[in-house]
Symmetry: C2
Subunit: 220 residues, 2 copies
């Protein structure tokens, strides 16, 4: 492996360990010592990539805005559904993504680090604007308002689900879309949207097949 | 004031101070010393009512499940809307209510204390079941599933709103209902529901007029 590829791999290994520790302990209780031992790298390697716990948390949040697995669709409303469904599929499997919600939900960490929510709202708002330009949305829908509401609703459904039932997040997010879409989509589009519980898993497998499973996730 | 009434008043004063401090600092950073100084009561008075910081936080969470201001309606779907709109009106004005979201969103505090979410889901689920019995809901709607989704969505919209824009929570929650109701209500009911931004404020004022403004909030 070339030196640069190895450095990227090491950075990713450290971020995954940091994600696990932040997700399990929360920001305040997490320690660099535990991240080091979890990652199995040297102190020198960690400090080559990250200068502090805050820097590690920023690195984790930097991975949070990922649309990997969301494939372009003719229907931009379907792409909006896919963004939420792919994330619902990936989140329970990727501590690095879960950690970004843990950090954002924590008032103290949020004040220090900010959140990925504005980035998500802009990305989903742009998708909904294109859906509106294509005539897929009901005329009164404001794409940016709907995007902001949805980011809040998605996040809250995940937090309450993991706090209470711990049932399938994909089923909950599919139900969230089924509740919201009749108030958003024009009737002719509504019936053609795929909100099946396994939509995210199918999209993710198609993406894995075309890209190979070993590539570290890329961010927007 | 009779001794018992004074004790209830003191307990409420302490809880309001605790709510402010938990809301501003989070659970871990909050101290009994700051709650004491904020409440302006003696140490003896505080420890008469609460044995520890954990006990104070439980007291705060005990106040979170409040339907004060939600008046009985013929349409149980309207009552479901009112529950969310009255809370959206009260939350920005009552640190004690905001604190319960801060405590529930904090992973560590949540593991220690639990949340008021199961209670809210049961209360809203019961309202939606009565709405369904009256023929107000679309036939495929599962009242308990919709209630759980809505508690998550409401909470997440509040958290993201206060983290990002800090705009009017009532406007956001009204928009959330407008997005969700077409997927929940039968068409004949949908057009008669009041989801105006000031719905919560009007309900709350009507309640205040009939009960007087000084009564401490009651819980279910």
């Amino acid at each position: 492996m070339a030196r640069q590829a190895r450095a990227i791999q090491t950075r990713h290994t450290i971020l995954e360990a940091a994600g696990e520790v932040f997700d399990e302990r929360g920001y305040d209780a997490a320690t660099i010592a535990e991240i080091l031992s979890r990652a199995g790298v040297t102190k020198g390697a960690l400090y080559f990539h990250f200068t502090s716990k805050e820097d590690l948390a920023r690195g984790v949040l930097g991975e949070a805005l990922t649309v990997e697995g969301v494939l372009p669709q003719d229907s931009k409303l379907q792409e909006w559904v896919d963004a939420g469904m792919v994330l619902a599929h990936r989140l329970p499997r990727e501590p690095l993504l879960r950690a970004s919600i843990t950090l954002s939900a924590d008032q103290h960490a949020r004040a220090l680090l900010g959140t990925s929510w504005p980035g998500w709202i802009d990305y989903l708002g742009a998708l909904l604007r294109r859906a509106k330009d294509q005539g897929e949305l009901l005329p009164h829908i404001d794409p940016q308002e709907t995007a902001a509401l949805f980011v809040g609703a998605w996040t809250g459904v995940e937090v309450v689900n993991s706090a209470i039932s711990g049932g399938s997040l994909e089923a909950k997010i599919a139900a969230l879309y089924d509740h919201v879409l009749p108030g958003v989509a024009v009737p002719g589009v509504l019936g053609r949207l795929d909100t099946a519980v396994d939509r995210g898993a199918r999209m993710w497998r198609a993406h894995q097949r075309s890209h190979g499973a070993d590539t570290p996730a890329s961010s927007v």
